[in-house]
Amino acid sequence: MHEMSVAQSIVQIVEEVLQEQNAHKVLKVVVKIGELVAVVPESLQFCYRAITEGTTLGESELVIQTVPVRALCQGCGREFSPQRPFFICPFCESSRVRLLQGQELQVSELEVEE
């Protein structure tokens, strides 16, 4: 259950940005969570609600965008969506693949009141 510490880090980042931008009220927080990152969206929502209730972020909506896994085959150079759990190229069956996306864990956007 590390969703709580992830939620706390999100709140920290949002507060930093609010201060930097001299904004006060945040309406929406958009986060990107890669499919390969072991974070459960429902748990993250629950934790975010629990720690923001009664704070300046209390009315903000947390939007979780799941980022699917994409990989690049180092053997044939083609891009594909791995059939999890294996990371094997469907074209040439090489296991030499580089992940292009799916490991994100970031705050991507804030909607704030002007």
């Binding site: 259950m1 590390h2 510490s5 992830v6 880090s9 999100i10 920290q12 980042i13 940005v17 931008q21 904004a23 309406l27 986060v31 390969l36 990152v37 072991a38 974070v39 999890r84 759990p85 294996f86 990371f87 094997i88 296991s95 030499r96 864990l105 970031q106 705050v107 991507s108 956007e109 804030l110 909607e111 704030v112 009141e113 002007e114």
Partner: protein, 219 residues
């Protein structure tokens, strides 16, 4: 209403501290291994058997992560190596800041090898870089041989996979080849060791490999 593009990593703070740790460890010419497994796979027993072979001649220290109790640190302390217990009090993983604080108890420049025994958990610790050189995931034959399939992020980030308790293979349904194939499909670069920490079977390869990592000759 205004939309601000942020694109900031949620675990940036942890990653920054992990980078500091890594730099500190490199300066001290010290190899650091992060040991990861589910509860009961035999991390502490493997560590104890490893310490018996390596410390001495090498100077080894241990950071023990547990949710509660200092039982494991007391087991390690019997081997006369410096050990610090980190109790996470419910936290399911170690973070870089906890390690940074823990290692202030050691003279890092006087060490060759540092083991960080993470909290028994195959999920959360995969996301948290501690500043280690290598992540070692340990599975045991009393678990399912499909562990890699169930916890792919962990096997994807690990560098080494130890299959422990091979002395029990005649009594369990664990298929070593299957486990290796599954893990290999997730991470083709994984290096495997099959051993029994309890009987010592296969331990030699593991110990030799650890010795090969240590940059300094034995003291």
């Amino acid at each position: 209403m205004k939309v601000l593009t942020v694109e900031r990593k949620i675990l940036k703070k942890n990653e920054d501290i992990a980078a500091e740790n890594r730099q500190r460890f490199r300066q001290a010419n010290l190899k650091v291994l992060n040991l990861l497994s589910s509860p009961g796979a035999g991390k502490t027993t493997l560590l104890e058997r490893t310490l018996e072979r390596l410390a001495p001649p090498y100077r080894v220290a241990v950071v023990e992560g547990d949710v509660q109790t200092d039982n494991d640190a007391r087991r390690i302390a019997r081997h006369k190596v410096p050990v610090v217990q980190v109790i996470t009090r419910g936290g399911c993983h170690l973070e870089a800041s906890l390690v940074q604080e823990a290692v202030t108890n050691f003279e890092l420049d006087q060490l060759d090898l540092l083991f960080i025994e993470n909290v028994g958990n195959l999920v959360c610790p995969a996301n948290y870089d501690l500043g280690e050189d290598l992540k070692v995931v340990i599975i045991s034959t009393t678990e399912g041989d499909d562990k890699p399939l169930k916890y792919p992020p962990m096997f994807r980030v690990a560098h080494v996979c130890v299959i422990n308790k091979i002395d029990l293979l005649p009594y369990v349904d664990f298929d070593v080849q299957k486990a290796r194939d599954y893990a290999h499909g997730i991470n083709p670069d994984l290096r495997f060791f099959e051993l029994s920490a309890r009987t010592g079977q296969g331990l030699e390869h593991w110990v030799q490999w650890l010795e090969s990592l240590i940059p300094k000759p034995p003291a």
